[in-house]
């Protein structure tokens, strides 16, 4: 048989792909110029970016860092031959006021306190943020942190926060004692009663007694001096911290089989979610004192924090309810089949999983609340926006718009964008399904 071979016996050498389909050219062809319509779109977009940058960059890079008034800025720009509204930014206002925008009127010699509190915030958050990389015991520090934060920021005797914490310890031991002697239900009721009696009647005398014996504490700082981002972060962190337990209780109440408890919780949640935050802040500024016993008068920041806590508790409850609803029913049934009672199954099986699922939602709530803290400027508090109004009213800086708002917006953006990216990362990490 003749040796007729039409089949290739050796492979062709691999060839490089055409230059138009690899590297930048290939990428641009696939993503930017894949058709006439796409090409036009790309060109229009690039032109748009060019126009924006052309307007923005010279404005941003203007040598006005050392100016002390808007008039001086204009003079500097005039000498450079730049005229008109958008010829250049006046950064002198930021150099002069950035400390104020961050700390408000907090006493300069005590700046270390908010800074330490802010750093400790990350230590307290570590058990949540990097659960697997830090010792479990650190969660106790997270529990103590809200009290520590309040004490360090406002100062005063150390005994008040310690006594407030002691209320929880007392409640725990009463619960232990009564639930061993009688029943868990009675223990729960007794512990709540003991804590309330401690906070309302016994705490005051004990604190004043201890402070007169051992006056340990930091110099007190008046609430009036709080301002800028210090105020925003304080309100945001305290309100979220305290709204978490309230939110858990409300979410459990909303899922409860007891109709009365359920309706009270639903009513509260829907009421808070149905009205704008600003009306609640009006309540804080004008009505809250009327609701409390005659003669009660505490400062406006505390009142705002109370209303912000209630506000975020309602949203928190809905977030946690979402987490509870996302748990497979088998988890509840499994807990029941182990013979755990309601509280045991919530504590050991349900809540750890439900809270883990809702962490991204909780972060989202925090971003929302942190952004909403600027509303306090409407009721006259000096948060960054309130301060900016004051600065713009200053004769030296009258007429400043972009620089100031741009700076505040940038700081908010850095905080919120960072948190939202983190929550997205967390969402991916926590995803256990396929």
């Amino acid at each position: 048989m003749a040796d007729l071979s039409y089949v290739r016996t050796e492979m062709l050498a691999e060839r490089a792909p055409p230059a138009t389909s690899v590297g930048f050219v290939g990428w641009a062809r696939a993503n930017l110029f894949s058709g006439p319509f796409n090409s036009i779109l790309t060109i229009i977009s690039l032109l748009f970016i060019f126009m924006v940058l052309k307007g923005l960059l010279p404005w941003v890079f203007s040598p006005t860092w050392s100016a002390t008034s808007l008039a001086e800025c204009r003079e500097i720009l005039h000498e450079m031959g730049r005229e008109g509204h958008f010829s250049g930014a006046c950064w002198g206002v930021i150099r002069e006021r950035w400390v104020q925008l961050f700390f408000g009127f907090y006493p300069t010699e005590h700046y270390w306190r908010p800074i330490v509190v802010f750093i400790l915030l990350f230590v307290a958050l570590a058990p949540v943020l990097f659960a697997e990389r830090v010792p479990k015991k650190l969660i106790w520090f997270s529990a103590v942190y809200p009290f520590l934060m309040i004490w360090m920021l406002w100062g005063g005797a150390i005994w008040s926060p310690l006594a407030a914490m002691a209320g929880f310890v007392i409640a725990y031991y009463v619960y232990k004692a009564v639930s061993v002697a009688a029943s868990e239900v009675l223990g729960l009721i007794a512990s709540v009663a003991a804590a309330i009696i401690w906070w309302l009647f016994l705490m005051g005398p004990v604190v004043s007694g201890l402070s007169s014996i051992l006056p340990i504490g930091l110099e007190a700082v008046n609430s009036r001096n709080f301002g800028g981002f210090l105020l925003s972060i304080t309100i945001g962190v305290i309100a979220i911290g305290f709204s978490l337990p309230i939110g858990i209780v409300l979410a459990l109440g909303r899922q409860s089989d007891l109709p009365l408890v359920k309706y009270i919780c639903v009513g509260f949640i829907e009421f808070i979610r149905g009205v704008p935050l600003i009306t609640l802040l009006f309540v804080a500024s004008t009505l809250l004192n009327i609701f409390l016993p005659p003669g009660t008068n505490f400062d406006i920041i505390l009142r705002v924090i109370i209303m912000a806590t209630l506000f975020s508790a309602a949203y928190m409850a809905e977030t946690i309810r979402g987490g509870l609803a996302a748990l497979p029913k088998g988890q509840y049934e499994g807990a029941d089949s182990l013979g755990l009672n309601y509280w045991q199954s919530q504590r050991l099986i349900i809540m750890p999983q439900a809270l883990k699922i809702s962490i991204p939602g909780i972060v989202g709530n925090f971003i929302g609340l942190f952004k909403d803290t600027v509303l306090v400027s409407i009721i006259g508090l000096l948060d960054p926006l309130g301060l900016s109004t004051a600065i713009r009213a200053d004769a030296a800086w009258n007429g400043i718009v972009w620089e100031l708002y741009g700076f505040i917006a940038l700081i908010f953006f850095i905080f919120c964008f960072g948190m939202s990216r983190y929550s997205m990362y967390l969402e991916r990490k926590l995803k256990t399904s396929h």
């Binding site: 239900v185 408890v261 009306t279 609701f291 917006a409 964008f417």
Partner: protein, 422 residues
């Protein structure tokens, strides 16, 4: 021999209230009710005590007293001699005005941006991502105040339009004047107007509705109805014969032609704003505060809506598109007939809750001096009468009503489109 068929009869003991699960829930609920009522009673008691000390008996009589302040942006007649109730009503209409305008603009922008964010064009999708992140991560109040400040600082004063060689000119063929006090646009006028419809007679809540507008609306919806009928008929013909009659010109005609006829019959023309003295007269006037609020709320909410639209479209599995393609549908029809109907089911509920957020955020109008319900009832009325409790209760009640009606719409929609599962 005795048999133990009946369980031993238990008599009710007090401890069963705690240990027996049958009774325990009742015990708990009674405890909760007592605690709740005690709290409410305590608050009411304190309030009564405090108000008595201040000498302010709770009463809503202030609502019928003259308000004594002006509202410069309004949809209905109002003078400073009108009552507080009337002022609140003007404010409510202003809230609804900015909410409706904001929802409309936010939806258009949001859908546009959301779709472009999914674009295969890298530059376009990046620009839209920057937009979304920029607006989502900065407080809306900051945007409102910033846009207001920009309008005041950069737009020309009405004075600048004066003279033979003015510093500023009107935009869009001399029809729209953008000034730092607001925008003046042409207004629709009718030479043979049908007049107004007066509602609610002499009460504080009376208002007029232009009959011309009503007639136009009736004609428009009548046209839509007829157009729908034509479509149903075309569908029927297609089903029986397999050929679809061309109907687009008929369907367009029955909507457009009657409206044009009515407009001509009523003598429609535009009234242009004119500079008289130091300010513009005539035309529709939108205050700078309304524009700032409207733009800021729309731009802010559009960022959220864009994300919702994007998520909704991404949620439709790729298999749906491929299956539709396998059936021979063209890309446009795949979008219209397969992807969008399913995506809308996912998009609409969060979209409505964004509308609700926008409406609640419109209460920030008070920061720029737009007189919405918060600005009138919760702002000046509260300060003038000193009736914090009554005004704030009323204000919250109104917002609750708005929120609850929006959630009712949402629940109704959810029920309508819910998947019927096996």
């Amino acid at each position: 021999m005795t048999t133990l068929t009946d369980p031993p009869r238990e008599s009710f003991r007090l401890s069963m209230l705690i240990y027996d699960t049958r009774y325990r829930s009742i015990t708990f609920q009674i405890i909760a009710l007592i605690a709740f009522l005690t709290l409410i009673g305590w608050i009411i008691n304190n309030t009564a005590q405090n108000l008595a000390d201040l000498g302010k008996e709770p009463s809503f009589r202030f609502l019928s007293e003259p308000a004594g302040y002006d509202i410069n942006q309004r949809l209905i007649d109002y003078t400073s001699q009108s009552t507080h109730l009337r002022a609140a009503f003007v404010g409510l209409l202003n809230t609804l005005l900015v909410a409706v305008m904001g929802c409309a603009l936010a939806t258009v922008l949001g859908v546009f941006i959301g779709v472009l964010r999914l674009s295969k064009n890298w530059v376009v999708s990046r620009i839209m991502t920057v937009y979304v992140e920029m607006f989502r991560n900065v407080p809306v109040l900051l945007w409102i105040v910033l846009i207001m400040a920009i309008m005041i600082e950069t737009l020309p004063a009405p004075r600048a339009f004066k003279g033979d060689s003015p510093d500023a000119t009107m935009k869009l063929f001399d029809t729209i004047a953008l000034t730092n006090r607001g925008a003046y646009a042409p207004e629709p006028l009718f030479t043979r107007s049908l007049g107004d419809l007066h509602l609610f007679g002499q009460s504080s809540l009376n208002f007029n509705i232009s009959l011309d507008l009503l007639v136009l609306l009736v004609v428009f919806f009548g046209g839509l109805f007829v157009s729908r009928k034509i479509k149903t008929r075309a569908d029927k013909i297609q089903e029986s014969t397999g050929e679809r009659p061309t109907t687009w010109y008929l369907r367009l005609g029955v909507v457009v032609v009657p409206i044009i006829i009515v407009l001509i019959a009523l003598g429609f023309h535009l009234g242009y704003p004119e500079l008289k003295g130091f300010n513009f007269k005539g035309g529709t006037y939108m205050r700078n505060s309304l524009i700032a609020l409207w733009l800021a709320l729309s731009l802010y909410t559009a960022a959220f809506i864009a994300e919702i639209v994007r998520a909704g479209i991404l949620a439709i599995s790729h298999g749906q598109t491929e299956a539709a393609g396998a059936l021979g549908l063209r890309p446009g029809r795949i979008m219209n007939l397969v992807v969008l109907p399913q995506a809308l089911r996912i998009i609409i509920p969060p979209l409505i809750s964004q509308y609700l957020n926008l409406t609640k955020n419109s209460s920030l109008a008070i920061a720029v001096g737009y007189m919405d319900i918060t600005g009138t009832l919760g702002g000046i009325t509260l300060n003038q009468t000193g009736r914090e409790l009554e005004t704030l209760l009323l204000l919250m009640l109104i917002y609750l009503c708005i929120s609850l009606s929006i959630s009712m719409v949402m629940n109704w929609y959810n029920k309508r489109v819910a998947l019927v599962e096996r």
